[in-house]
């Protein structure tokens, strides 16, 4: 197999989604930290790997792949012994794909980044209540998506769970899901925490993210 390296930031949810995938597949890899706050993603060496200068990037020998939602299917397709994490069945795969795009659009970029970008990169000290309310809207959707299933895309663990748990752990820093309103989300989170590699691949990084955010001493204002 190729030499795998993941370039990213532990605090970054999509980086952690890839770490969860690598751990789930029990793949050896190098972990190269990219300090976004110091602009390391804008250095020429990084731009050569990923002209869109986002994290994470997966390097597989000479090949560079970016966007966590593209990296995870690639890893499963290339290295997994079964298709469980990203089913080949057309319908099952489409459900996972829909979940991944929900993370890309409304959840990660729409809701989380609209909170973190100003705080972490633009020196904002105030966030608006409407941004917090948007998290509750996301939780409403996720509670519905889980439905009667154990996992985000159905009866079994998939890469969609990795995207969702990493983003939601970060959303939780701003708004904890109320167990009386979101019992399925809370149960699902507990289920994911039981994964043997969870703490290393997500727990540690989620804690870093939390301390980064809390160190900003922001206030919430209604508009």
């Amino acid at each position: 197999m190729g030499k795998l390296s993941i370039y990213g930031l532990e605090a970054s949810p999509p980086t952690r989604a890839c770490l969860l995938t690598l751990k789930a597949l029990d793949l050896p890899f190098d972990w190269v930290k990219v300090n976004l706050m110091a602009g390391e993603h804008l250095l020429p060496e990084y731009l050569e790997k990923n002209p869109q200068h986002t994290v994470p990037v997966l390097e597989d020998d000479e090949v560079c792949i970016w966007d966590s939602h593209a990296i995870m299917p690639y890893l499963v397709g290339k290295y997994a012994t079964t298709d469980a994490l990203y089913p080949k069945d057309h319908h099952q795969r489409a459900i996972v794909d829909q979940r991944l795009h929900y993370d890309s659009g409304p959840m990660f970029i729409g809701t989380l980044l609209s909170l973190t970008k100003p705080l972490l990169f633009k020196g904002a000290t105030v966030i608006e209540q409407s941004n917090i309310d948007a998290i509750a809207d996301v939780y409403d959707v996720v509670e519905t998506l889980i439905g009667d299933n154990e996992y985000i895309a159905g009866a079994d663990l998939t890469i969609a769970d990795f995207s969702f748990v990493t983003t939601i752990c970060s959303l939780m820093v701003f708004l904890e899901p109320d167990p009386s309103k979101y019992p399925k989300i809370v149960a699902w989170l507990e289920r994911l925490r039981q994964l043997p590699y969870y703490e290393e691949a997500n727990g540690v990084g989620a804690a870093h993210f939390e301390s980064m955010i809390k160190s900003k001493n922001f206030t919430i204002e209604s508009n």
Binding site: H91, R93, I95
Partner: protein, 224 residues
């Protein structure tokens, strides 16, 4: 065997991405139009079928699929055959490249278009600020970069990423203009896409309709 059914609107860029894909692979769909402005996506029947009440929604036998990017990939995989495999290649590296561009659409292109359009179309907003427009135009820089050395977004062959991105980009380029000197490659790509025989009926008309609607709604909101 019955045709897959698509709940859609010609106004909706993601719906048009699915329609472009179906045309490309020669697949006939049973078309079920939904009028978003009249709230037809919020009826109990529609919400029962799709609790997230989004369009497009595809019903294919027992399969109920939402999100245009997932639907396009599904249609090519299930119905495209070997002849149309290049639209969503099986090679893992090529596929990852297409996936990354599909997520560029959901995370950036379409997300930013929604951010500009939805408050005006649905919530009576008068906000068409320079910031929101510039936010959309920042994406053109990303696209220009990808098109620097290739005809289409993922290489020299058309993929579903081109369908998803062109439907989005052509739905906002009246307000978020695509400067021909700053973005020559994006402009060339748009011209190339417009050459597809099914493009005019399947994307151009709906895109123009949406752009006209946005302008009309903005004027209406401002006159209040």
């Amino acid at each position: 065997m019955s045709k897959p059914a698509l709940y859609y609107a010609t106004l909706s860029p993601p719906s048009r991405a699915v329609l472009l894909t179906a045309k490309a692979i020669g697949l006939e769909l049973e078309l079920r139009p939904i009028n978003l402005l009249k709230g037809e996506h919020l009826t109990p029947e529609f919400v029962k079928m799709n609790p997230q009440h989004t369009i497009p929604t595809l019903i294919d036998g027992d399969a109920n699929i939402t999100d245009s990017h997932a639907i396009c990939a599904y249609l090519v995989g299930k119905y495209g055959g070997a002849a149309h495999e290049s639209l969503y290649p099986k090679d893992l590296v090529q596929r990852a490249n297409v996936d990354a561009r599909l997520h560029l659409d959901s995370g950036h292109l379409f997300a930013r278009l929604r951010f500009l359009y939805e408050p005006v179309l649905y919530n009576g907003s008068t906000d068409c600020s320079i910031d929101k427009i510039a936010y959309v135009q920042k994406c053109y820089e990303i696209l220009e970069g990808y098109l620097a050395d290739r005809t289409y977004l993922c290489g020299n062959e058309l993929t579903i990423a081109d369908f998803c991105c062109v439907a989005t980009v052509t739905s906002g380029n009246d307000v978020a203009l695509i400067d021909e000197f700053k973005f020559p490659k994006v402009n060339a790509w748009l011209k190339k896409m417009a050459e597809l025989p099914y493009y005019k009926d399947t994307n151009e008309e709906g895109a123009e309709e949406l752009k006209a609607l946005f302008k009309a709604k903005l004027a209406e909101n401002r006159s209040k």
